[in-house]
């Protein structure tokens, strides 16, 4: 039921987002693009189909994976702070991207490949560093993530400060999330991975529920904690690494959406997973719509919007409703 409502809300958001933008295009014209092409101007058709639609798809998919990733990491590590970014995906991807740029690859496909490798390798690194501790104390993983983040951030700043590569300046947008040059091919690459990842993770939702009650009891109830961890960790890393490599670093989605979902719908992961994933898509599409309209014709990086809207809203919720993590 809830998922259905969210799907409808998502469809509505896509429509609204298609209508909003720098170029003034009416709702009727948007509908005509899909029904009767001959009645709209060529420019309108291009803007809707080549610019806005790919961008909305990419925003939705990125929100979907980031939010789902956050939910699963929080459940796995039983730590409210866990999110793909805290655990090193962001800095790893950024590091990979910088290396790609310096080696002279293009933003089209070369840089994303490097970003993806960077993300996955880094999170693997975090996993190995904290490997021994993770069984007992999940904060080791968070700490390892924070430290790896700090190290790579320093390396990136070093490159930006010393490199003569002019293209590194466009990195700055990428570091705060940039969806402005989305192509439909990006979504075609991400979508199957995101969907497959979702169902794979969903099959572990009961494990996550049991894990929430504590590791000991999960073990007693027959959950193979370690292998569940490894599989989930790997799936999320691949998914998020892939999404981030195309969108740049969009923070906050993996924190705010799962927590919001928990506050409203409780702690059953079987419900939380679809709700978080769809909610994340909805949130990021809305945020990106704001990013490209509020300062038009210039654009803001979408990460600025997610943090700017997300942080105060999140604080309000914490104050007003109290977090379930705190209550437990």
């Amino acid at each position: 039921m809830v998922s259905l409502a969210l799907t409808l809300a998502l469809a509505a958001a896509v429509l609204v987002s298609l209508v909003c933008g720098t170029a003034k295009i009416s709702f009727m014209d948007v509908l005509k693009v899909f029904s009767d092409e001959s009645q709209v101007k060529e420019a309108t058709r291009l803007i809707i189909l080549r610019i806005r639609l790919p961008r909305i798809f990419l925003a939705g998919l990125a929100g979907f994976t980031l939010s789902l990733g956050g939910l699963v990491f929080q459940g796995l590590l039983r730590n409210p702070l866990a999110d793909p970014f805290v655990l090193g995906v962001s800095s790893g991807a950024a590091f990979g991207a910088v290396v790609g740029i310096i080696l002279g690859f293009s933003f089209g496909l070369g840089v994303p490949v490097f970003a993806f490798l960077g993300a996955v390798i880094t999170i693997y690194l975090v996993f190995v560093i904290s490997g021994r501790g993770m069984g007992v104390e999940s904060s080791t993983a968070i700490l390892a993530g924070v430290i790896v983040n700090a190290f790579f951030t320093a390396v990136i700043m070093f490159f930006i400060a010393t490199s003569s590569e002019d293209r590194l300046h466009s990195m700055l947008f990428w570091l705060y999330g940039d969806l402005s040059q989305s192509r439909i091919s990006y979504s075609v690459i991400i979508a199957p991975v995101a969907v497959a990842g979702f169902f794979l993770l969903y099959s572990f939702s009961r494990h996550l529920n049991l894990l929430a009650a504590g590791e000991e009891s999960a073990l007693h109830l027959g959950v193979d904690v370690q292998s569940a961890r490894v599989v989930c960790f790997l799936v999320v890393s691949l998914m998020v690494g892939l999404a981030v490599s195309f969108t740049g670093l969009i923070g906050f989605v993996g924190l705010i959406v799962p927590h919001l979902a928990r506050m409203i719908f409780g702690s059953d992961n079987r419900l939380l997973m679809p709700v978080s994933a769809l909610g994340g898509a909805l949130f990021l599409i809305a945020a990106d719509t704001a990013a490209r309209t509020v300062m038009s014709p210039s654009e803001l990086p979408v990460g600025v919007i997610t943090a700017f809207l997300g942080a105060p809203f999140f604080i309000y919720l914490l104050k007003a409703r109290g977090s379930r993590w705190a209550r437990r």
């Binding site: 003569s164 466009s170 947008f173 014709p297």
Partner: protein, 304 residues
């Protein structure tokens, strides 16, 4: 083996067809500064400029009324301020550009993101890329844009006049000593330029020597200590605004009397717009800097 031959034949056939085959009446293909083939139907009438320097070039050629969109910071000539904005050069608003229904976009190699350019081209908009890296390239760039917009005659005349002005400066400083110059493009931190910049080119052509030319970074951050060691004879502060912060920066240099430029009161402010944009105004910058480095040529002859 066989397949190789087939492919070769196919390529040859296509080439021959390209040479002798039918052509569209008005379509013409231009090769831009990065070697891309840009196909344009008829003289462009709705042009979007993707960089401030390109905007200046288009206006210089008298094509102002054909411009339908410019990037942020396109502030020269003043008329450009009234044109619709299409985002900043580093971050183009592709949607806005397409909405303006242009028939040509002119961008720069280093300024614009290749991805944005690719998106525009996918949408069927020809994008011509220019890449003026040196002062002397500006005339060529001007001429290539003129050809593209079918104002070849005028472009040729203007390009020749720019070239002859550069020549005049070179001639004037030819036998003069070359003072060492420090050029400051940012105040805090102090940032200068290495040899891979157009600023360096201006200093060189104006008969000076950039003290930071050997820096390993394109835009090196420099400490005062370094400057005390390098002892420039002239300091040029490239400023966006007159007075204010930059006057203050100048005063701050004045306490370092061991720097020859300070001792001899040769710390100057120059409008950065005529020093860092590869547009026709860079020749104004060149003449200005030449007069600052060699006051004697100003007395004997006007370079303009």
């Amino acid at each position: 083996m066989n397949r190789c031959v087939c492919t070769l034949m196919a390529v040859l056939l296509i080439l021959i067809y390209g040479l002798v085959g039918p052509r569209e009446a008005m379509a013409e293909t231009f090769v831009d500064a990065v070697g891309r083939h840009v196909r344009i139907n008829g003289p462009p009438k709705r042009i979007v400029s993707l960089a401030p320097s390109v905007t200046e070039i288009l206006y210089y050629l008298g094509l102002g009324d054909r411009i339908v969109g410019v990037t942020m910071f396109s502030d020269f000539p003043r008329d450009a301020l009234a044109k619709p904005r299409v985002g900043s050069y580093a971050h183009l608003n592709v949607e806005r550009i397409l909405e303006l229904e242009p028939d040509l976009a002119v961008g720069t190699k280093d300024g614009n993101e290749p991805n944005a350019v690719a998106l525009l081209e996918q949408a069927g908009l020809p994008v011509y890329i220019v890449n003026p890296r040196h002062v002397e390239d500006v005339a060529d760039t001007l001429f290539s844009v003129a050809r593209l917009c079918r104002v070849e005659e005028k472009g040729k005349r203007l390009a020749e006049s720019l070239t002859s002005r550069i020549k005049a400066v070179k001639e004037a400083v030819k036998n003069l000593p070359k003072p060492s110059v420090f050029i400051q493009i940012n105040i805090k931190p102090i940032i200068s330029v290495s040899r891979h910049t157009i600023h360096n080119d201006v200093i060189r052509l104006a008969g000076g020597r950039n003290v930071m030319e050997d820096a390993s970074v394109t835009y090196p951050t420099v400490s005062v200590e370094e400057l005390l060691a390098r002892k420039p004879e002239v300091i040029i502060i490239s400023s966006m605004e007159r007075g204010g912060r930059f006057e203050k920066a100048k005063r701050e240099w004045m306490i370092w009397k061991s720097i020859p430029a300070v001792r001899n009161n040769r710390v100057y402010l120059v409008n950065s717009d005529i020093l860092d944009r590869p547009s026709p105004r860079i020749i104004d910058g060149l003449e200005t800097v030449a007069r600052l480095l060699h006051p004697e040529i100003g007395r004997n002859q006007r370079t303009e």
